[in-house]
Amino acid sequence: MEDKILKIENFYAGYGKLEVLKNINIEIVRNKITAFMGPSGCGKTTLIRCINRMHELNKDAYYKGEIYLEGESIFSMEPVILRRKVGMVFQKPNPFPHLTIYENVLAGYIINGIKLKKEEKDRIVEENLKKVALWDEVKDKLYLRGTHLSGGQQQRLCIARTLALNPEILLLDEPTSSLDPKSTIEIERLLEKLKENVTIVIVTHNISQASRIADYVAFIYLGELIEYGRAEKIFTAPENKITEEYLSGKFG
């Protein structure tokens, strides 16, 4: 029996009259990398944004159905609390432009007004920058603004900032789509290491990326979950014809 951390049940979501997700049922396995894969506009980003309730911030957004984190409905939690447990990294690296690298790692504490001792701050910054393999590159310039870093470094800084809050789940919305191939590989390696401590859900439209890092793959097409299972199985013997066509590059 695999250990499930997150359960999505009979879930629908959309904007106004536009239904983006239809009857999604999925269970996310703890400490594994699950990839949501599918062509542009299939709803994978909407789905991931529902998991930390960022979706409902959009204009006219609606949802129906349930999502359980460790058995508790996320819609009965305070969004602010939920988002500390379910962190998110975005497509475009978005460090806070007014904060230094050091402060960016601590942003979740500083901006929330949580007071920490100096030693504790130093520890959190070092620990999390090491987790994302950024420490050696930035340890001498911690007091520069986060926006001075390169795109790949900024994205790793954003991951460190999210990890600093010790989330249970890390959501990544196409985290490498604006990065060069070298930074992409670095981030992928990083995720494989990070899954020891955190469950990872990544959205990607890059099939080879999913095949490189994912343990589980969910293929979403036109708002429906077409197929979900172990990555090896989906990539070698997909059950559904649409999945097979997508993987073989017939569309997408």
């Binding site: 930390n52 960022m54 911030l57 602010v80 609390i81 939920l82 988002r83 500390r84 962190g87 998110m88 975005f90 475009k92 978005n94 460090p95 806070f96 432009p97 007014h98 942003a107 979740g108 500083i110 901006i111 929330n112 007004g113 603004r145 926006t147 954003c158 900032r161 999210t162 809050l165």
Partner: protein, 275 residues
């Protein structure tokens, strides 16, 4: 033919630009020429002499102007900032649109009208002219400038910065106060400085409010003098010494405004936030 047209165009641009700059430079030249002769230590440190006598200074007006600006800022900056945040928050809603229109209209009210309104609301109620009524009148001119520039600056903060904050479990109000506002500090300060240089030269609203005072006054409930008001009074006077002092006041005002504009550039450079 094309080259000729190109040259002609270039010539016209330069010629017209110089033509526009000419009056500007001649104004500054004239103020310097007439003003510099009265500028000395006494001018800054002593009070006006009775009409007809030479010498004396405009300390009362310099202090008055600084106090008027200070209290006007005290009123206008907090309200202006909050109004700006409100306009930004509700920019897509009906109420936001209506209020933006009102702020625009307020910004367009002639300053003499603002003066009359302040007279009716404050001077008449209090029964006498005062520094605070002058500051109130100036703050009415100041407030919409801050509100508008704050709204426009906040609008330039990309939504992904706001999302980054919310996704860290930071509440919306904290996101606005601790992420969006600090990221726009350069633009907001620039709006405030622009407003200060605007009100530092206002005369009309002070005629019926701060009124003027030949003595040094630090009491907010008493009338107070100011540089633009003194220029107005002195220029109309028949005394040579006073008219010379009016030029001196004009020079000080120009220097204050240039200094603010210099500060503005400095702040924009220092707090320029790269996204």
């Amino acid at each position: 033919m094309k080259i000729l047209k190109d040259r002609l165009f270039k010539f016209m641009v330069i010629f017209l630009a110089l033509l526009t700059l000419f009056p500007l430079f001649s104004i500054i030249f004239m103020i310097f020429k007439n003003g510099i002769s009265v500028i000395n230590l006494e001018f800054f440190t002593s009070l006006p002499k009775p009409p007809g006598e030479t010498g004396g200074g405009v300390l009362n007006a310099i202090i008055g102007t600084l106090l008027l600006i200070f209290f006007a800022s005290l009123i206008a900056i907090p309200f202006g900032l909050l109004t700006g945040i409100f306009l930004y928050e509700y920019r897509d809603k009906k109420i936001g649109e209506i209020l933006t229109t009102f702020v625009d209209i307020t910004q367009g009210i002639p300053s003499i009208v603002i003066g009359i309104i302040s007279y009716l609301w404050i001077v008449k109620k209090m029964g006498h002219f005062s520094l605070i009524s002058g500051s109130f009148a100036l703050s009415l001119i100041f407030l919409p400038i801050i509100a508008k520039s704050t709204k426009e600056t906040l609008k330039m903060i990309p939504s992904y910065i706001i999302e980054a904050s919310l996704a860290l479990g930071i509440s919306y109000s904290r996101t606005i106060l601790k992420v969006v506002l600090p990221s726009s500090i350069g633009g907001i300060l620039s709006g405030i400085l622009l407003g200060i240089s605007r009100i530092s030269g206002e005369t009309a609203p002070l005629l019926f409010t701060a009124f003027g005072n030949p003595f040094l006054n630090l009491n907010i409930l008493k009338p107070v003098s100011s540089l633009p008001h003194l220029i107005f009074i002195y220029t109309l006077s028949p005394y040579d010494n006073w008219r010379k002092h009016a030029w001196g006041c004009a020079l000080i005002l120009i220097i204050i405004v240039s200094f603010i504009s210099f500060l503005n550039k400095l702040f924009l450079k220092k707090w320029k936030i790269k996204f």
